[in-house]
């Protein structure tokens, strides 16, 4: 084998090893890399409910209730489950019903007491007129209240 071919094989093998090592590490730490848990994860007891954690899902339609003293209460849902969230503070611009949200805090009984609310943006970008037109013609691909993509 020529020297440069030797070097090529060496580099390739080294990269494969490093790649597999990284893949193993990432799978092992999957729980920690996940930024938030869904209401279903919570239901299936995958989440450490005693500690602080992040809960992610969609804000259910018609569930946002403003209470006195800057307290907001809303349901965070995914395809099958929902969790009641209570939060005191200022909500981000993108926070609205039917939109993705990530809340951080603790589970207090059955109510999630959040001290931070982050809005999650989806990958759709369009002008407002187009969004209106899509909704009118019934071709809206956005997210509906059940959390699954509308067909």
């Amino acid at each position: 084998m020529k020297r440069k071919n030797k070097r090529l094989t060496f580099v390739m093998i080294a990269l494969i090893f490093v790649g597999s090592a990284v893949a193993l590490v990432l799978t092992a730490f999957e729980e920690n890399i996940v930024f938030f848990f869904s209401p279903t994860d919570l239901e299936s007891k995958k989440t450490p409910t005693k500690q602080r954690f992040r809960l992610g899902g969609l804000v259910a339609k018609a569930s946002v209730k403003k209470q006195g003293g800057g307290i907001t209460q809303f349901q965070v849902i995914d395809a099958t489950n929902s969790v009641l969230v209570r939060y005191k503070g200022i909500l981000p611009d993108l926070f609205r019903e039917g939109q993705g949200v990530v809340v951080e805090g603790r589970l207090n009984g059955s109510v999630f007491q959040a001290d931070e609310v982050l809005a999650k943006h989806d990958e759709n970008y369009m002008p407002p007129e187009v969004a209106e037109a899509l909704k009118k013609s019934g071709q809206w691909q956005g997210i509906n209240t059940t959390g699954s993509k509308a067909q």
Partner: protein, 257 residues
């Protein structure tokens, strides 16, 4: 093809021809991109005017990955085939990539505050991008951290190659894990999830950034080639001086005898 440009003189001759075109293309595309981005594109139905940050943020992030891929390729070519210009090309690329990574992080942060409600979160996408920035800095620092230039280049090339694992992780982080960052809009199976009026400025600025890369790369390469030549000259001068010294001391010894 590669061997043809092993000669720096030939490379520089080609660079002279390409550089003005790269400059013109960059300026025209960037002017057009900015015009569309700022004056001739609609606000987003959710984000409003804040969407315009995307026209700089997304092309910067693409550049960050593009430059790192080139860095890994040049490092591989330098290590395996020992192409004389490959290492210089890596040196010329790294600061450009680092700058665009920084831009992507900063513009993302500025977008994140009003939209997400936070400047920064440690989700998989943001963290892997942050690591990319440090890989660039590590590459730049390692280059000159050794007494002999070759050792530094080799160490930096190994770092660049190993760090390349991070590139697919960045790209697919939003699909593999739950992240706050949204998934890909432009490159996806079902076609872009971005309206054509917004795709136009995005692609224009993305192309402008690619042109800008070529332009900056050629300027940097001139510097790197000149520096390498200086280093070679210095080395040969020192060697000549040593040879002369040995010769004179030999002569003196001979005379003393």
């Amino acid at each position: 093809m590669l061997n043809r440009f092993a000669n720096p003189i030939r490379f520089l001759r080609l660079a002279d021809q390409i550089q003005p075109w790269a400059a013109i293309l960059t300026l025209v595309l960037f002017a057009a991109g900015l015009y569309f981005a700022l004056f001739n594109s609609p606000p987003d139905y959710q984000q409003g005017e804040t969407v315009r940050i995307m026209y700089i943020h997304v092309p910067s992030a693409w550049m960050a990955l593009f430059c790192y891929t080139l860095l890994a390729i040049t490092s591989g070519v330098a290590m395996i085939w020992k192409h004389p210009l490959a290492n210089l090309a890596g040196r010329a690329t790294a600061p450009i990539g680092a700058t665009f990574t920084f831009l992507a992080l900063i513009t993302g942060s500025i977008w994140g505050k009003p939209m997400w409600g936070t400047w920064w979160v440690w989700d998989a996408r943001l963290t892997s991008m942050f690591i990319l920035f440090f890989l660039y800095l590590g590459y730049i620092a390692l280059q000159d951290a050794f007494d002999n230039a070759e050792g530094g280049s080799k160490a930096a090339a190994i770092l660049a190659l190993v760090g390349f694992i991070n590139v697919p992780i960045i790209k697919f982080s939003v699909d593999w894990w739950n992240t706050l960052h949204q998934p890909a809009s432009v490159i996806k199976f079902s076609g872009p999830a971005i309206h054509s009026t917004m795709l136009t400025p995005l692609l224009l600025t993305a192309l402008a950034f690619k042109g800008y890369y070529v332009w900056l790369f050629l300027i940097n390469m001139r510097g790197e080639i000149a520096e390498a030549r200086c280093r070679a000259l210095q080395v040969s001068q020192i060697q000549n001086a040593q040879v002369a010294k040995v010769a004179t001391s030999d002569a003196r010894d001979a005379h003393a005898d």
